[in-house]
């Protein structure tokens, strides 16, 4: 893992790394990737991945309006909002 890869992953994850910590992070990531890389020695041909221990599809239910979804309550937690929307820096000039 080189510095360029670390920069790319950081951008994908929308994270900025303190320059002073950059080489330590790079080394840590290399160590962890090396640990995970150990799995390559295990033969998994014809093995279906197990994405969830219950092996069930997420259950669905009727789409009924309930009292949990209150716009005002959720907007109140936003760092910046008006009466209807979350506010972000201007996107369209």
């Amino acid at each position: 893992m080189d510095q360029e890869t670390v920069r790319t992953i950081c951008y994908l994850a929308r994270l900025e790394i303190d320059q002073k910590k950059s080489s330590k992070i790079q080394k840590d990531l290399e160590t962890i990737i090396e640990l995970i890389g150990g799995l390559q020695t295990i033969d998994t041909s014809d093995i279906e991945p197990l994405y969830n221990p219950l092996e069930m599809t997420a259950s669905t239910h009727e789409d009924i309006v309930n009292s949990d979804n209150e716009k005002e309550k959720f907007l109140k937690n936003a760092p910046a909002s008006n009466e209807d929307y979350f506010l972000v820096p201007r996107v369209v000039e």
Binding site: M1, T5, V6, I9, C10, L12, A13, R14, L15, E16, I17, K21, I25, D28, L29, T31, I32, I33, L35, I36, G37, G38, L39, Q40, I42, T44, I47, E48, P49, L50, Y51, N52, P53, L54, M56, A58, S59, T60, H61, D68, E70, K73, F74, K76, N77, A78, P79, A80, F86, V88, P89, R90, V91
Partner: protein, 486 residues
């Protein structure tokens, strides 16, 4: 009569015999929390609401529910309506949820009183509670030593006798390992047994809520209330919930307990081995039979977990964007800059490290090699468990290869060193199985934990075996000397 170090069963007796009122119990609990605040167990107290709820509980001669008026602490990962919920992260330092997590709501509906929110590793990512934005929690058994993690504040609050029980969550050992390090009992239920709704997600296919308490009996009481199907959690199990308390006290004659060959227990510290052998003899005396079993892929649990958990974490934590809730950076140039600055300022180093690993594992070109590969190995690990549970009822391991360690002594140079601490606990999360940790003596004056892993939905067997152990031993009654903390 002091309420410190009392179990739920004992406090229920005191309440029912009117030796203490619910109000007095809550006030004394809050006083203990203040007295031992140097432990740093709590991030936020719930004094006003707890006081008000307790004062509304009128003593009656009718039989109360076990938890009526019982003070509990909640891990600060459960959303609590109107009560700050931080996940021990700067990014949620001012977050006040508009709803309460199902698991907590069920306990409160049963009469429990939430006295505060407990400190933890940031977003539950850690095994030592050292990644919290709100500082380290001390192990009540030794100042300057970790309580384990990530539910370290919950474990320390119970071990210090402040509360009889607390909630925790377990993604790779985060209930069992701190329970072991603090000398208490902690249960991770079967995946899906307890609703995850309102739990701030770390790794959704591994996270599971459960109780930390002084005894297996008290864990059964909490689990009775916490369990059950929840429409709001799409992976909640719609299956019968037995009365866990009624099912303890069964004999274990002929119960088969497996010892996992691949864990090479002979390589552990000789004192850790000695405690394990003593516990094995205890179970033999109680009528259990031991057999050596092989789970050929279990040694791959740690790398499998550290591919899957960060991948799910990177996806789950993408919701923290500085827009809808949580910390928002000032002076962002544009929307992208707002995301980057808010997240970079809000997350700590370990969380960032795991997001980056997960992003890498899920990125184009690496997905098959890391993420899919790990999920395939996960299937092999689960198959191994399915196979051994055809011939044994329970698997037994130490909870952790070591006891609690000094602040800063592990994982600072090499994070993998700390990851390996999870060796014995991680596999049950990957397979979704229940597991319990009970105290079984000390190693170098610090508590050591014994882990029992059960088959799918067999919490009743684990609680029964743990309860029998505690009926025949007094390790769970040991109390730390708290002079250094008051």
């Amino acid at each position: 009569m002091s309420i410190q170090f009392k179990s739920i069963v004992e406090l229920r007796g005191m309440l029912d015999e009117k030796l203490i009122s619910a109000s007095e119990l809550t006030q004394e609990t809050l006083q203990l929390a203040t007295k031992y605040q140097e432990l740093n167990c709590f991030v936020t107290m719930n004094k006003e609401v707890a006081t008000k709820k307790a004062s509304g509980i009128i003593p009656s001669d009718e039989i109360s529910s076990w938890l009526e008026g019982m003070p509990l602490a909640q891990k600060d990962l459960f959303c609590t309506k109107g009560l700050r919920t931080t996940c021990s992260s700067k990014i949620l330092a001012d977050f006040i949820p508009p709803y309460t997590a199902t698991a907590v709501e069920k306990l409160e509906d049963a009469g429990a009183i939430t006295i505060g929110k407990t400190n933890m590793d940031e977003f539950a990512m850690g095994s030592s509670n050292e990644t919290s934005f709100f500082g380290n929690v001390h192990n009540p058994w030794k100042k300057g030593y970790v309580p384990g993690g990530s539910s370290g504040g919950s474990a320390a609050a119970v071990a210090a006798g402040i509360v009889p029980a607390a909630t925790g969550t377990d993604t790779g050992g985060s209930i069992r390992q701190p329970a072991a390090h603090c000398g208490i009992t902690g249960l991770k239920p079967t995946y899906g047994r307890v609703s995850r709704w309102g739990m701030i997600a770390f790794a959704s296919s591994l996270d599971q809520a459960g109780p930390l308490a002084r005894t297996a009996e008290d864990c059964a009481i909490l689990l009775n209330s916490m369990s059950g199907y929840d429409l709001k959690d799409t992976t909640s199990l719609n299956s019968d919930v037995p009365d866990f308390l009624a099912n303890i006290n069964q004999p274990i004659d002929g119960v088969k307990i497996g010892i996992i060959k691949e864990f090479n227990l002979g390589e552990l510290d000789s004192e850790v081995q000695a405690r394990f052998e003593e516990s094995k003899r205890m179970y033999e005396k109680l009528g259990a039979q031991f057999v050596e079993v092989s789970l050929p892929n279990i040694s791959a649990s740690v790398p499998t977990y550290y591919s899957i958990a960060p991948a799910e974490c990177s996806s789950n934590l993408s919701r923290f964007d500085g827009v809808r809730f949580g910390h928002r950076a000032e002076n962002a140039d544009d929307l992208n800059d707002l995301y980057i600055k808010s997240r970079s300022e809000g997350f700590g180093d370990e969380v960032k490290r795991r997001i980056l690993i997960g992003t890498y594992a899920l990125s184009a070109g690496y997905y098959d090699a890391y993420y899919k590969k790990a999920q395939q190995v996960r299937r092999l690990i689960k198959n191994d468990f399915d196979h051994v549970f055809q011939s044994v009822d329970i698997l037994m391991t130490p909870t952790s290869p070591n006891t609690a360690f000094k602040f800063g002594s592990k994982g600072t140079q090499n994070p993998v060193e700390l990851y390996l601490e999870d060796l014995f606990t991680i596999s049950s999360n990957l397979a979704g199985l229940p597991a319990i940790s009970i105290p079984h003596g000390q190693v170098n004056s610090l508590p050591a934990g014994l882990q029992l892993i059960g088959n799918f939905l067999k919490e009743d067997q684990l609680l029964n075996a743990a309860h029998l152990f505690q009926k025949n031993s007094d390790f769970h009654l040991s109390q730390p000397n708290l002079e250094d903390f008051s």
